[in-house]
């Protein structure tokens, strides 16, 4: 069962299209990371997921129901960590927790206290006086307290120091391990995401250009480096690799580099005799894949 079903989602602000026909599903138990540059449409998508933004077209269903019409009842099973912590600044953490506890059918007060203690967040200090990292930790604590089936995190590590970032991801991992919560997150911290995500989507200029399991994604992306000096007709000897969908073919003084987006071990063996001597193939990190996808040199995306 998919806890998030997004179909043909389009969002417009006046004449500008922020999201253009975006469609994806997040199966129960998955950790889905939505990546994209600033302005790619991630926040608009999150607002649609939370039912605070009405799409111009398409639909968003959470836990099987339309989120625009049934937002309040759906959010009883959903924890949310906003991009900017937005709790009332005059309320203490304790007051905020007490207020939130009245809204949900379940509320694990003991775990809230435990987490805040572990984070070292003072509970009797007004929220507005906490540091940015502490505010993020409070938001995460409140999002996980109602034992939600789905957690939506909108760039939860934005502006946090490395330690705080690690704490956020570790906390998520603990919760995932405990309860198998479905997670949807957007983030610029690709290294952190790579550690926990099992599905990845990449938004570029309002369109979803990638949407697949992380394992599969990493399996089909490779970097091929061909040193200069061979008789290759000026293309680095890559002419025979068209069916491996080379992307970002870049030439420099030392040779040619290409990102292959449909890596096939058998096919490479077939054509390896035609490649110049010294050609190297290596795997890509999620960050490298992301960069290759959102900044294509060849002008096309996989």
């Amino acid at each position: 069962m998919s806890l998030i079903e997004v179909a043909a989602l389009t969002v417009r602000y006046g004449r500008r299209t922020a999201l253009d026909g975006v469609a994806f599903n997040v199966p129960e138990g998955a950790v889905y990371a939505l990546l994209g540059r600033n302005g790619a449409g991630k926040s608009s998508l999150v607002r649609c997921l939370l039912g605070v933004q009405r799409p111009a077209a398409g639909s968003v269903r959470l836990l099987g129901s339309d989120v625009w019409t049934r937002r309040a009842s759906i959010l009883r099973e959903v924890g949310v960590v906003p991009e900017e912590p937005d709790a009332p600044p005059a309320m203490t953490v304790h007051q905020i927790a007490a207020f939130c506890a009245r809204l949900y059918p379940r509320w694990d007060s003991a775990r809230v206290d435990d987490r805040l203690r572990r984070f070292g967040v003072p509970v009797d200090v007004p929220f507005g006086r906490l540091s940015k990292g502490q505010k993020g930790q409070v938001s995460l604590t409140l999002a996980l307290a109602p034992e939600p089936r789905l957690v939506i995190l909108d760039d939860p590590t934005l502006g946090l120091d490395p330690l705080a970032r690690r704490a956020v991801f570790e906390e998520l991992i603990v919760d995932l391990a405990d309860r198998g919560t479905t997670v949807f997150l957007t983030s610029h911290d690709l290294a952190g995401v790579e550690g926990i995500a099992d599905h990845v989507g990449v938004l570029c200029d309002g369109r979803l250009v990638l949407d697949e399991e992380l394992e599969s994604l990493k399996g089909r992306f490779r970097r091929l480096r061909v040193p200069a000096g061979g008789e290759d007709g000026g293309d680095g000897g890559l002419a025979g690799l068209a069916d491996l969908a080379p992307l970002r073919i870049a030439q420099s003084g030392w040779g040619t580099e290409a990102v292959l987006t449909r890596w096939d071990e058998e096919r490479l063996e077939e054509i390896s005799p035609t490649l110049p001597r010294g050609a190297e193939v290596s795997a890509l990190t999620l960050e490298e894949i992301f960069l290759a996808v959102v900044e294509p040199v060849a002008g096309e995306r996989p």
């Binding site: 607002r47 939370l50 039912g51 605070v52 933004q53 009405r54 937002r71 309040a72 009842s73 759906i74 959010l75 009883r76 949310v80 906003p82 900017e84 937005d86 709790a87 009332p88 005059a90 309320m91 007051q95 207020f99 939130c100 009245r102 809204l103 949900y104």
Partner: protein, 664 residues
């Protein structure tokens, strides 16, 4: 149940976040207790001072909190992107809207009441010392006062929220808001002017009440839509707010416009009574004014042709001239003139009464404000008007002013005028002697009666240019008293005077002599000149009335006694024949209880006209209301039970229905 719990949680959170306001308000509430100890406060009035200060503080706190909290809660949070906290949690949009507004309403109202609390406890009463303009059953005691205070706070909260949302969203929709506000204000002002000029003040305030109610509902619905449908998107929220609110305002204003149109779109058959009838000596046309049915104290005026049934609605009097009756007729009955409000003031319109199907004609005469007096010459060519201390005479055919003369006006009752012929205008000007500057108020109080001088002037306006006319004194009389009602005989040389307290006097303006002084009954009475100059005096005593017929010299000619009945004296339908009605118990509002007859003043015989009939023109001399010419059509009109307006043919003694008014 869960929804109510969530609503309660939001409400409680709003109050809890600002609980210090309640503490501060209670601290302010102790200040009125110190007022009696302040220098200059008289000890005997300390409770009144205390209550007054407490009320002033209560209103101030309520208003300030309602406006500031209304502007910041929801509107501020939306503009600053702080509503996401609620919308990312399982809280329904309506609960966010209602909970937050209810929270700040509780804070505003609660703080205001806490300001009052110490004073109420010290005075040990639940009665508020309201200023006179608020001292009503609704505001005198605490429970209804709380309701009014709460309504006021909610109103301020909503509109403060509305304005703040519009301004803080920084969206182009603000331009629509300004445009719509200007359009609504312009439409409202136009409606207000229409009703105000017509004198439909009750209807205006009813409509205004409905408008305020509908606009408040629109504001509440719009803000709810703004939050529940616009959610955290400030611009979208603003768009929804504006569309909903201005749609509501548009509907409410349109409803007000339709209502105001309905109010003023009346015909003579919508009158439920006749307050006044004006009629020239020789015409089938009359001018009527009376209260219109279902329209409160609205008294529309009409020109009505008793021969054909044709009617023409003319502008009523403005509220500050409620006693003024329109139109003025030429004495030959050929023309009527009246004023109609326009953009820059009041314009004179005329109607040719001799031409069937004639339509109102515009003239070159206009006034910035309502004039004090107007009169038409016998054939309707000249119009004399007193306005702003200047008497002007206009030639309506030549469309030019022929003269203007300054006149002194002592009061609204101090001036009468009539054309004696097509060339001459006569002015009657009454002036009280001015008190000596050296007189103290106490001295003035000891000398309530002052010299009152009535002077008659003639003016020959023809062939004079503006500024060249001259008033020539032709007569006058001096008496003492404190106030006078006065009427002038048809020949223009005799005056009947009735002081507020004191006897009737009949005076000769040519000689200045008092011809007769007649005792006045304790219950007042009226003096009415007949067409031949004789005078009818009705004197009321207990349940009965005595009519006294006086000659031109004041000598009593006859008495007519009507014991144990109430008498209505109508008009003179023929020389020496007076329309009358009597009732053992009825009022003017119940024609059914009256029986009408014609009284022959020469032989005392009464010719019955029928039961359930009441003369339309009755008790005419007071303030000159309904002062129709003797023997005119107006004098022959009777109102019958059920609302029929009947015209008496004096030759046959038969009554003919000319109009059916609403309910009689």
């Amino acid at each position: 149940m869960r929804a109510v719990r969530v609503f309660g949680a939001v409400l409680f959170r709003e109050v809890a976040e600002r609980w210090l306001l309640l503490v501060g308000a209670e601290a302010v509430g102790f200040f009125p207790l110190l007022v009696p100890f302040l220098p200059g406060v008289q000890s005997g009035f300390s409770a009144e001072f205390r209550a007054g200060v407490a009320l002033a503080l209560c209103f101030t706190v309520a208003a300030v909190l309602a406006v500031t909290l209304g502007a910041s809660v929801l509107a501020g949070e939306l503009a600053e992107g702080r509503l996401g906290f609620y919308f990312s949690r399982p809280i329904a949009g309506w609960a966010v809207w209602a909970g937050k507004l209810a929270g700040v309403a509780v804070l505003s109202i609660g703080s205001a009441l806490l300001v009052l609390l110490p004073t109420l406890v010290v005075d040990r009463r639940l009665e508020l010392g309201m200023p006179w303009w608020m001292d009503t059953p609704w505001t005198r005691h605490v429970p209804p006062f709380v309701g009014i205070l709460a309504a006021g706070c909610v109103l301020l909260l909503l509109f403060s929220h509305l304005v703040s949302s519009m301004v803080r969203s920084r969206s182009p929709w603000l331009l629509l808001d300004l445009g719509a506000a200007l359009a609504a204000a312009a439409l409202f002002w136009s409606i207000r002017q229409t009703l105000w000029r017509e004198g439909a003040i009750d209807a205006f305030f009813w409509g205004l009440g409905g408008l305020v109610l509908l606009v408040t509902v629109a504001a509440a619905v719009a803000s709810a839509v703004q939050v529940t449908r616009g959610r955290t998107d400030a611009r979208r929220a603003h768009r929804l707010l504006s569309l909903t609110f201005w749609s509501g305002v548009g509907i409410a204003t349109a409803a007000f416009a339709i209502f105001s149109h309905w109010v003023v779109d009346v015909s003579p058959s919508d009158l439920r009574a006749f307050e006044a009838v004006l009629s020239p000596a020789a015409s089938t046309w009359i001018g009527v004014r009376g209260p219109a049915v279902h329209r409160g104290a609205y008294f529309p005026a009409f020109l009505f042709d008793t021969a054909t049934g044709r009617s023409l609605k003319i502008s009523g009097s403005p509220i500050d001239r409620f006693w003024w009756l329109q139109p003025v007729f030429s004495s030959d009955g050929s023309a009527a003139a009246w004023l109609e409000g326009g953009a820059g003031g009041y314009e004179l319109k005329t109607l040719d009464l001799t031409r069937p199907g004639a339509r109102p004609a515009a003239t070159a005469v206009a006034f910035e404000s309502w004039p004090d007096r107007m009169a038409l010459s016998p054939h309707g060519r000249l119009l004399a008007a007193v306005h702003d201390g200047v008497l002007t005479v206009d030639d309506l055919e030549a469309r030019r002013m022929v003269t203007s003369v300054p006149v002194a006006l002592a009061s609204e009752q101090g001036l009468k005028m009539r054309f004696t012929d097509d060339r001459h205008l006569r002015l009657y000007q009454a002036l009280f002697e001015r008190p000596e500057r050296s007189e103290t108020p106490a001295e003035r109080k000891e000398k309530p009666e002052r010299l009152w001088r009535l002077t008659a002037f003639d003016l020959d306006p023809v062939d004079l240019g503006p500024g060249h006319g001259k008033l020539i004194r032709v007569g006058g009389i001096e008496v003492t008293g404190n106030w006078f009602f006065w009427s002038v005989s048809p020949d223009g040389w005799h005056v009947a005077l009735r002081a507020m307290e004191g006897p009737f006097r009949l005076g000769d303006l040519r000689t200045g002599a008092i011809l007769a002084t007649l005792p006045r009954s304790p219950e007042g009475g009226m003096a009415t000149f007949l067409s031949d100059g004789r005078l009818i005096l009705d004197q009321r005593n207990g349940d009965g009335t005595t009519l006294r017929l006086l000659g031109k010299d004041g000598a009593e000619l006859r008495q007519f006694a009507f014991p144990s009945v109430r008498v209505a004296v109508g008009g003179e339908v023929q020389p020496g024949r007076l329309a009358m009605a009597t009732t053992p118990r009825g009022t003017f509002a119940e024609p059914a209880a009256w029986s009408a007859f014609l009284l022959n003043l020469d032989n005392g015989r009464a010719a019955p006209l029928g039961a359930g009939l009441l003369p339309v023109m009755r008790d005419l001399s007071l303030f000159d209301r309904g002062a129709g010419n003797p023997q005119s059509v107006g004098a022959r009109l009777f109102l019958r039970t059920g609302g029929d307006l009947l015209l008496l043919d004096p030759a046959t003694g038969r009554l003919r229905t000319v109009l059916r008014i609403h309910g009689g």
